[in-house]
Symmetry: D2
Subunit: 311 residues, 4 copies
């Protein structure tokens, strides 16, 4: 049923938040609302169960529901990528099979986050996974969370595995991204997407294929616009939109304990904007009233609240 | 059915390896053999599905089997602790319920290893978990794997939660252990067990209650003997056995990539000793023939191979 | 004698290597040759005694000589910045006074590298230094070497100190650079220069004032050309030159132990190019014949050797 | 004039604080007072210009004065070790020559703290230094400050250099200390001293030769007593004194920013005890009145203030 993945995958793929009703109850209406919101903003696809989607923090039952209901709601309008990162290979594979059955186009796999593996072992891990995975696989490079990432030398080797379709680079080291782009020059269908939205402008200006921008949950048009400006080389507009991207992340992702300020800030903002509740999976807690008021005020200052939200 | 947990829990609690037949097939005979081996060596209890047991690397089905078959094989002879560390609160709880149903005496919980939480959030996480957990809970402090551990100030607060029964300290920072011991002076039934076997001697000499020594999978008598010597203040014997502990870990846990040298070395040694195969859960791979031969030779040099193993 | 510093300082400022004859003997001819080489390539100024110049690794006598002879050789043709980073405030100040006397235009100051200070203490440190320093001060943000850098919040405060003239950002975190640029928007004469040459393209495209590119010791025209292309928004040329920058750093800075591969590779390349010997200050050692041959071959492949060097 | 170094050096060697009048003015009376205070407490020698002595933070002139005046005040009563750690080999050597001329017995050398070296380069660095150094050399392992320490494999190699007389281990990893002790078994005159006072008890119980305890600046008798109790195997007394050591470090070294809480707390306590002013070299600042009052109260609670100090 599922359509083939465009190659290279290019554009803006929001790592969708997972709306929850409580710790282990999925808010299906919220998810559908979020999906319509970002699709209306022109995004090129979706990334379910990523870091922003709290994938590894959800029970397996809930992850399965998100994949099934998410794919059904998208209904083939854009490609869907599914995060299958887990500490257990078997569970990652189970989730990949669930993604394929639901009609997703690709899966996204970071190294297991508990016991770190050597680079050699990571290469074998990915190769073994590709051997049995039912969908194309994106490497997810996020060493700040998994302690080890995919070194450039290992990416070079994994470029030989046809099922490896691309890289999500959330390493925040642009030199790494530039090196990997150069290594992948011989595989033009290999897609390189940058994770942190603050680095989208330069990534696309210098040749990456797009980004998985958490902020696109709030304002998809902004990141789509920045992507398009960078693609067309409209530097004046790039600088203008990039400035706004930095202003948003400085205002919304920096409140409270730094470990969780991004996730709590983002979900709180979506709540202020009326898109979903700011229930988070454990171990995270939503902001209290005072911090929430700060976020609301900052959103208002940024002009991100509709008049009706802005009381 | 389950007997109450001794308070404070004291002695040697090997973090049992999980014998596997392949990536996702449990070797029940191997587990039973391992259990009889360590019980014959006089250990005071067992820790299933810890880091050494590759808990987070196993599928949920397999983890459930290990708990059920392990508890059945132990049959109440010693207390069984079960590692329930997971990136998802709901799955940790599910496993804790499974442990209680199987007759285990306690669970061991490290912080979620993917997205790091603030200390404040970790305190809430543990408190919420204790609120619903069916068994006493040991805090598992292992910041090298989970990026954040339980700071001493948070341990102090969690000492007020009656269900928090102890701490497994794998932080390798003895000052932390000393501080926590001093903080817990008012709760004499609170058990402090050290993780790294190389630190067992000093931990017990200075007042900790015992250790969860991976090496006890190979030679349980050695660690039990060291524990008893330290408890009785027999410094001469402590130094002699401690020297052997360091010699074993220097010889067996240091081959190949440092990320996985402990686990690969330990399981390879158990294989050379005829106790179980050295199949590892992904992303880890057993040693090849040359490294295995090195381990076998080092075991022989240490006198750890029976004559029949020692060809 | 010294001319005022342009504000904001903009362009390419090579962190000049320090040619040595042996561990503690300065090669004055080599320094003069290097200065003429980079000035002929169109650079906008020089940075003496930076990390690339092995500043902290040289004796005080030798540092003084470098400043005096370097300034004399430049003879006012371009601004000279002098690295004064040291573990001792008093010695940093002494070197700053020496720089002023020699006719340099500014000094560059990183946090003391031995005992790390808190952000609050760093702010006081810089303020105290500016109170007595005879020249404008650039903040040098290089947390990989000094363990702590200047957090954005502290840069914001230090923007109020008129003598703080700019920032050299070697933190490799472009989000930090973007945030600092935005914070400094109200002080248009504040100069933001990026350290790692691999990030020069995007830094200038998005508004930074230039870079301190180590590679400009070898090929100053390349980095000046990239700077100018970025400044004028010639994206096609930016991508082309940026590709070459990445190719050079991938080829020349990656041989041998990673701790010193940049410095050893760069000085070895300069030696192959006939610009200076590759003597390094302790604890670093030049490459042996085989590694040197590898560097020579890579330089030849990159077309960086004149025919006469290329035997 | 200088007496030979006992081999192995054993006992308590306080890393003496450096009393200052202001940023760059030495308080000679304070130093003499400190020396008499610790000698009266029975210490076995002194360590000048270590981390606690703010060695790398002082100007070269001041470091020279500390060495000369310190050695003169000790007047051969106990061995004096001098910290010569510096970012510049030439300056380390100059200071070592000054130490020899002043009558010190050994120097203590950590890796250069700015640009990190590979292990191979560190071995060459130490060997080269020993080739020209006029005194025995202690390796100073403190990776938290120098980013790289001396790996056990490198210590093993440096054991072959006769001038390498011992190791100060401030790595806080007791497994490393145990491994190094075992490696050095064949050189019984090689001295292993532990840095952090919180680890003194176990280090000596298991075979190390003593410690360089910062707290001995305040209460030398306590650490000497703990050393002697551990040496004689009096476990009951070890536990009692160790508890007090942990209580002191928990109370005195934990106030304010963690980067400098040890140094500020220690010097503030010495000031409250009337031993010296709490002037610190930049970038550190003494506590304000409120924090100082907290330290004074905690000292009083610990019974560390004479009645006359305790108003």
């Amino acid at each position: 049923m599922s359509k083939p993945l465009p190659a290279p995958l290019a554009g803006i793929f929001p790592p969708l938040v997972t709306p929850l009703r409580d710790r282990d109850t999925f808010d299906i209406d919220g998810l559908e609302r979020m999906i319509e919101h970002v699709l209306a903003g022109g995004v090129h696809g979706l990334f379910l169960l990523g870091t922003t989607g709290e994938g590894p923090g959800l029970s397996y039952r809930l992850r399965t529901e998100v994949v099934e209901r998410g794919c059904r709601a998208v209904a083939g309008r854009v490609p869907v990528l599914v995060g299958v990162t887990d500490t257990s290979f078997a569970e990652s594979l189970r989730l990949a099979n669930c993604a394929a059955a639901a009609g997703a186009q690709a899966v996204v796999l970071a190294p297991p986050s508990y016991l770190p593996a050597s680079q050699e072992e990571l290469a074998t891990y990915v190769t073994s996974f590709c051997h049995v995975a039912p969908l194309p696989v994106f490497l997810y490079h996020i060493p700040s969370l998994t302690k080890v990432g995919f070194d450039a030398a290992i990416v070079r080797r994994l470029l030989d595995v046809p099922k490896v379709a691309g890289l999500k680079d959330s390493g925040r080291d642009m030199q790494y991204l530039h090196e990997v782009r150069q290594l992948a020059a011989g595989r033009p269908e290999f897609s390189i997407l940058v994770g942190p939205e603050e680095l989208l402008a330069e990534a696309v200006l210098l040749g990456a294929h797009g980004g998985m921008c958490g902020g696109a949950n709030m304002d998809p048009r902004l990141y789509v616009g920045l992507y398009e400006a960078a693609l067309s080389g409209d530097l004046k507009r790039v600088r203008e939109l990039h400035r706004r991207v930095i202003a948003i992340s400085t205002a919304i992702y920096t409140l409270g304990a730094p470990e969780s300020s991004y996730l709590r800030g983002l979900k709180c903002a979506l709540c202020c904007m009326g898109l979903c509740e700011d229930v988070l999976a454990e171990p995270f807690q939503p902001f209290g009233p005072s911090d929430r008021e700060t976020i609301r005020r900052r959103l208002a200052d940024l002009g991100m609240l509709a008049d009706s939200d802005n009381r």
